[in-house]
Structure formats: C-alpha cells, structure tokens
Symmetry: D3
Subunit: 137 residues, 6 copies
C-alpha cells in the first residue's frame, strides 16, 4: 500500500454568512470572514490516494489521469470563482474549509474508486497558518 | 545604507472588470479574472525601506513602528475585504496587482519619510507564480 | 471527523545540557547543541485538533479561540524566551524537541477538551530539516 | 511514542522506460517521463522514525547517527546520480517514486531497528506538486 | 515603471563535462556534477519584465501572453529533457546555470520587446541553495 | 556580468541589550528582543557575488570554494552559537540583523575579491517576515 499525493491550487472568493442570522450574530461567530463584500484565498488542495503498486507500471495510479479528474471535477468549479455563488457542490452550504473538504471528498471518492484506488485524504490549506484534513469518516 | 524588508499578508477578493467595456471585451482582456462574482487571493506584501543604520540602536528603522504603519494604513484596508469595493485607495481603479502596488507606494512613501527612512520597494506576490514590484518611478 | 491544524511560531534560545554530566559527556551526546552560551531557533508549531463539524457553524472549532489558547498557554511562554530558563513547563527538563512537544501536549490536551474537541497532534519543526510529532501515547 | 522526521535531499536523473515495451507504449504509459535522454529532479526525502523518548537524553534517536545512516545508505547512492543506471538498489526496477520509496524502506528498516527505533514512513517529494509515502505494508 | 515576475518550472537532466578535458580534470573542476550518467534538477525560472502600466488595462504586460511565450520558447525545450542533448539553444555549451540564464535571455529579450516591454532579469534557482541571475550585461 | 547567490543557514541565540542603558530603556527600544536570558533564530544567509562568466568553466565562481569560505569565515562563528558572546566579529556590537549583515560583508568582501569576483549583496532573513540586505555602501 503506497500513498500518493497530488497538489492543485485554486484562487477563490468566499464569505461566511448565515442569512437566517442577524448581522451582529454573523460577525460574532464568523468575525472578519463575514465581510459582506467577500474576501478570498489562494487555496492549496492536497489529494492523497492509496493503493497497491501496479507491478506493470510501478504506479499506484496514473498521475495525469488523477490530475485531470481533480481539475475537471473540482478546480474548474472553484478557480477564479466565488465558492458561495459559483460552486455547484457548495451552494446552500456554509463555505468553511471543513465543508469544502467534505464536499470535495464526496465528489472524488467514487472517481478514485473507478481508477482502482482508494481516496485517503482531502487536505486544504486556506492560508499558511490554517489547514483542514478530511479522511472520510 | 541598509535595506530592510517587512512581509505582511492579506486575504482579499477582487475582480478585473471595466464597466465601460462589454462583457465580451472584459473576458477577452482579463480572462477568468473577470468573473462577475469575484475571486480572491492570499496576497503577500513585501515593504522594503532603506536608510543609514542608527549607531545608537543598530536599526535602520524600528520594525514595530514600521509594522504598525503598514497594518494601519494598508492591511486594515485590504485584509478580509474586497479590493474593488472596500479599499478606499483602490476605488475607481482597476484592481490589478500593478495598480495595487502603486497605490500602496503612494500611501507609505510619506509615512516612511517621517520615520527618517526612504521607501525603496513595494512588492506584491499575488500567487506563487506571479508578483509585481514598484520602485517609485 | 475533521482534522484542523493551526500553525504558530516562536523564536527561542536553548541548549542541551545535563548538569550531572561532565562537559565532555555533554558534548559527546549533544554535540554542538551543548554550546554553553546557548543557540536558538525559529520554531514552527503545528497544533492539530479533531472533531465533528458543528452543523450550525460549519466549524470543528472556532480558530480564533484555538489561536488565543495556543498563544496564551504556549507561545507567550516561549517566544523571545529561553526554553531552559524562562519556560515554566520546561524547567528541569532537557529542552529537546521531543520533550517540548510532550510538554505542549500536556497543557493543550485539557484546554482543547473544554472546547468540545480532541487534541490530535503536536508537531514542532525546529529547522527546515528536523521535526518531531507527538500524538499523545 | 514520538515521531521524528529528518529531511534529506538528492538531485538525480531518471527516466520511466520499459525495454520490453515499444517506444509508443512507453510514451503512452509514461508520457514525457519516457524521454530517452533522461530528465531529473531535486528530490526531497522525509524519513520518519518512531520510538519512546530515552529519559537519559530526551531523544527518540540521535539525529546525527540517523542522518549519517540516511546519507551513507541512501543519499550517496542517489545524489548527483542516475537512478536507473547508478543506484544499486534500483537497477532493474522502474524508477517511479513509488518504487524508490519502497526500495529506501527496505534498506533503512533494519538500520533503524538496530538503533532501537522503528521506521515509520518514507516520504519522497518529487516535485512541489507530487509526492509519495510508504509506511511498510 | 513596474517590474512583473512570472515563475515557471522545468525538470531536466544535465551534466557538466568538457570532452576536450580528461576525466580527472572534469571531476576536478566540476565535482559530482561531472557524473557520466547525468543528474538532474527541478529548476525554477523567474522572468522579470519592466514597463509602464497601460492605463487602459492596468497591466504592464498580459501575463497569459508572457506565460505562453516562456512556455513555447523555453519550457518546452527543457522540461522533462536533457539540457545538454535535447535543448537546441544549449547544444555545444557547458550546461551551467550561468550559461542557461544567458541562453534564455538571448531568446526572450526580443520576444518581450515585441510586447512593448523590456526584459529585466532571468533568474534560475537550481536548488534551494543555489541560484543565478542575469540582467543582460 | 552574472549574479550568483548561495544560501547558508545558522541557528543562533542573541539579545538586543545596551549595558549603558537602564533596563527600562532597553525594553522600550528593543521590546521583547531585550529578554535577559536570550532568544534565538534560524537565520538564512544569502551571499550574492557578481562577475564575468569564465568561458573555460561556464562558472562565475566555483560554488564549492565559495561555500567553503562562507562556512569557514562566517557559519562556523555563528551556527549553534551566541551572536553576542561567541562571534568574534560581533563582540561589542549590538547584534541587530543590520549590524550582522555589515559585519559579514566586511569579512567576505576581500575573500570574494581574491577569487576574482565581487561581493554584491549580503542578505539575512531573520524570520519569515523580517530580512535585511546590505550592498556595501
């Protein structure tokens, strides 16, 4: 069993805001992340898959195919977009890094399965100081 | 003459969009940066000042004071904000990294002067691949 | 279960030295880390907590509160200090990165518990080449 | 139980090429990594060992000794070398990062054992976007 | 006048070897870089251009066009290639980082000119410890 | 004329303290850097030399020789040492990064001259946020 990690990046806007809460409560809970006019990040995404090494190729997975899937299914929905408004799998959810990681997991898990591997981890680095990792349960 | 550089960071949303242009022309010139619903970055800001070393203190400048000025005058206008909508010195300008660097220069130049130093450079790293530097002329 | 990591930094002096050993034995075991007049590092501290995502907030934990705790309980005892002489929870211990990680764990574990989360890992990067991680057992 | 990680680096050439396959199949499977005249990388190697902290020294392991072993057994076979042609433990294998990690594990596992510790992980970062980790099973 | 820097990367093999010298002299001058079977690096390339900011676009240069030129003229000749054998503008030259920087300058200088800007600097980071910069004279 | 930069690192303790000043004044001017029991850093040192490329070797300078000089003359006086107490060229000076950079310049300038090159810059990164550069006048 070998673990392989691919890093991809996306630059996106978002805000943390609950319409059913007052402005005061939103700022109380979400702080400056509740800024009405949005803010944004250069997100770093680390996708780790695990599997046996194929003795024919020496690969756990073809990285080009994994990269294409991550780009088609995830990066294209997020890069130079607004997480809250533009990203189909985040609409109606709070755009916290935790929810983003779980949303990405739900999409990539079956895709990685099809390639004969298992998704092990979705890690998102929102800033150089803050990151979140989801292992699927 | 010694050069001293302070790094600060801000996470902001922006878009490149000219209201007097058609949507088509905006996308033609600005590409995905024209996304209507904004995108964003973790910007890194490098402020370099130059001056003689004060023999009393061994300092070109008191870094705590320089840091306070950068935070009060710049970071507070940009961090967790929208460059186009929230930042007083960028309103009405295209929010390119070039314009941002020149806008920051205009504010910090007289402030650094008051401290007995000279502003040498404003450098902004928008992503790990793209950065801009302005030296004042 | 989501894992959330916060990075904080501290710049501290220390030395590895056992008073009950001869100078020769100290240098034999600890090498240049035994330098009598101390040396120092920019330590990077990575605190990882794990927990369920609160459906109300989308957060595992309020990062501002976690950050305050790490700063109040740990960084303030270490930043711009001497690990051996100034840090209450390290006095009388060898200031190895291993002992530092276990000392930080002991302090943060109950604090994170109070927030409804679990401390998962304390990782310390002493230099770009050396790091230590403690998971509590 | 504490985990200690040592980073080492090596700059090496390699190619992915199976002599029993046609040129077409090699390029189909390995893409530009099949370039006949080789290409190369600055590999980063992260060796993680785990063990109890020795109460006498405060160490899991003497990092100088660990570093010497990694250099003698691994780095000297790879740094400024050709993985396919010069590295004794890779000859006859496909020089994928997966195989490299498993080859390094096989060599270091008994060496770390002799030091009273256990090898926990061999991680190799081939580029800033791609890395592989092997935990021994 | 604003300076804009674009980073690109390439992974390549090379060796330092002068056929008119003896093996002994080659190793004496070039050390382990003379390894017959090549070694390689993840090179980082930083291209800096300077120019006036276009008041219409807020840009010094269209980064997408600059990126395309760097990729078409430089990266495609070097990425996953052998600098000595595969790169047209390096054939017959010693593949030192100094010569590589000057070779890249010669190609990009007229291209950047056509875009209405001036090439300011070609910087190559060969490893995290070694880099070279060429400013054209 | 090509510029070549070599990075070296040292981990050292220091404090900013003027014996002729009161404790109050020391803390007023130097803040937490005046901590009596020292603090420390992982300093990064970037030495840039400039010169013509030797057509025989393709080198501005032999990096191994430059590295040896930096290590013998500078790193050995600073690594795992106390800047104030152990470093011959800093004794009696305030151990600010500015003074350190000028002290290193004074030592390396004639050494680089002997190698047929010119010292261009001494840059020291004290933390990820603060750095100083000295160009010799």
């Amino acid at each position: 069993m070998v673990f392989l990690t691919r890093r991809e990046r996306f630059s996106a806007a978002h805000k943390l805001w609950k319409p059913e809460w007052s402005e005061e409560k939103n700022f109380d809970v979400f702080g400056k992340c509740a800024n009405q006019n949005w803010h944004g990040h250069n997100y770093e995404l680390f996708i780790t898959v695990k599997g046996e090494v194929n003795p024919e190729t020496g690969f756990v997975i073809d990285l080009r195919i994994l990269g294409e899937i991550i780009n088609n299914k995830i990066i294209n929905q997020l890069d130079h977009k607004n997480v809250n408004l533009d990203c189909p799998f985040m609409v109606g959810k709070l755009s916290t890094t935790e929810n983003l990681a779980m949303g990405i997991w739900a999409i990539l898990f079956p895709e990685v399965k099809k390639l004969g591997c298992e998704l092990h981890s979705v890690k998102i680095k929102e800033t150089e100081n803050n990151s979140v990792e989801y292992l699927g349960n």
